[in-house]
């Protein structure tokens, strides 16, 4: 009995020390990991959407919680006006998991600037065709006032032949953004104003 207690004690002490060490490392690196992820995973998509270097855009990040999901939102502000919003959403129902997309839109006329794929694990040559510009350009110019759907479901988006699942995941992601923007558009714009006016005021006075 004493022996077993000894064994358990030693293992317990080793485990708790390791847990403490890991918790410490994790908390001290969490911020950096998030920055790196943003830069390498979201950066390229953001750069293509707004045609600007990602470094400046990534710092302008908002997270909008809706239900149990959170949507990362990035924005572009030129001459006191918000000229671009980029919303990221994970489209469910892809052939092998979620397709994470980023939709860029111009909040002045609510037209879509374009859609970019942030990450996916679809089959190369089939589902991976969602990356093709010829497929994605169907989004450009859409107005996001109502949900989109595939032509086979009576909508306006032509699916990729043989990759209906992947196409549907894209549509799902888009509709999440549509819904999110319908409910939170004003809130997001206000938040951006607040942030940048804070910066502008202090800049002006200085």
């Amino acid at each position: 009995m004493r022996e077993i207690a000894h064994l358990v004690l030693v293992l317990g002490v080793i485990c708790s020390l390791s847990a403490a060490a890991l918790a410490y490392v994790r908390t001290s690196l969490a911020g950096r990991i998030e920055m790196q992820e943003d830069f390498y995973v979201r950066g390229p998509a953001l750069e293509r959407l707004f045609k600007q270097p990602a470094e400046g855009l990534l710092t302008e990040k908002l997270t909008v919680p809706v239900g149990d999901q959170t949507y990362p939102v990035f924005y572009l502000r030129e001459a006191g006006e918000v000229t671009g919003l980029a919303v990221e959403a994970a489209g469910h129902g892809g052939y092998s998991g979620d397709i994470v997309i980023m939709i860029g839109l111009d909040p002045r006329d609510d037209r879509v600037l374009g859609v970019e794929i942030v990450s996916h694990s679809e089959t190369p040559g089939v589902g991976a065709k969602v990356e093709l510009a010829s497929f994605r350009q169907q989004w450009t110019g859409l107005t996001l006032d109502q949900p989109v759907s595939l032509t086979s479901d009576g909508g306006g988006i032509d699916a990729i032949t043989g990759a209906t699942f992947s196409s549907r995941a894209m549509v799902d992601g888009t509709n999440q953004v549509v819904e999110m923007l319908r409910d939170h558009r004003q809130e997001i714009l206000l938040l951006i104003e607040e942030r940048s006016s804070g910066g502008a005021v202090s800049g002006g006075e200085g």
């Binding site: 485990c15 994790r26 390498y40």
Partner: protein, 203 residues
């Protein structure tokens, strides 16, 4: 073994994975490019040095019956630290290496050194052993990675080494090339050892 021998044995006498046939999976899996090989080697070296250190420090405290379990906890903790650190500082590399970073945990070299060396030697020797074996492993991985990258892609650490007219044989960066390359290297190493009259692997 004295200190100097401990510090150098991993570089030739027990060079993993050629003369100490352990840790074949990462040697095959992450050596499509020299950079990946080197990155993996450094990660393994880090884990080896510190796992040997902690296990040697704890060797009188850990009861014999739970020693393997304790080693696994120590090693896995270090691997998670490496995983987090790689994500924070070398993100593209960590994406490239993928699941092979967490798989360092089941790399037999690390558990092997813990059991065969660190559990019965003082701390400074154990750390030297970890450094030596880890360096040897890094050199091997970089070597295999260089051969495969130069022949398979025509570059070395991403720099072009051949004129444009060179047609790289893509076979080398795929799975069959990995097995073939490692097998032939092992054969060469054996032939060389045999000529010098040293022991060589023949099992």
């Amino acid at each position: 073994m004295n200190f100097r021998q401990t510090l150098t044995h991993g570089l030739w006498r027990d060079l993993p994975p050629f003369r100490m046939v352990l840790g074949l999976c990462p040697t095959l899996a992450v050596t499509a490019t020299a950079e990946n090989g080197l990155g993996m080697g450094i990660a393994v070296t880090f884990v080896l040095i510190f796992s040997n250190m902690f296990i040697s420090l704890l060797r009188k405290v850990i009861p014999d019956k739970v020693r393997i379990a304790s080693y696994i906890v120590v090693i896995a903790t270090l691997v998670v630290i490496v995983e987090l650190a790689m994500k924070a500082f070398f993100f593209p590399l960590s994406q490239q290496l993928g699941i092979y970073i967490p798989l360092i945990v089941v790399n037999c070299i690390i558990l092997g050194r813990a059991e065969a060396f660190a559990s019965r030697n003082p701390v400074h020797l154990s750390m030297a052993d970890g450094l030596s074996v880890g360096l040897g492993f890094s050199i091997s991985l970089t070597l295999v990675g260089s051969i495969r990258e130069i022949l398979g892609v025509g570059t070395w650490f991403g720099m072009a080494v051949f004129p444009d007219s060179f047609e790289p044989f893509g076979f080398m960066v795929q799975a069959p090339g990995a097995f073939l390359c490692l097998g032939l290297l092992l054969g060469l190493m054996n032939a060389w050892s045999r000529r010098r009259g040293e022991f060589f692997i023949q099992t």
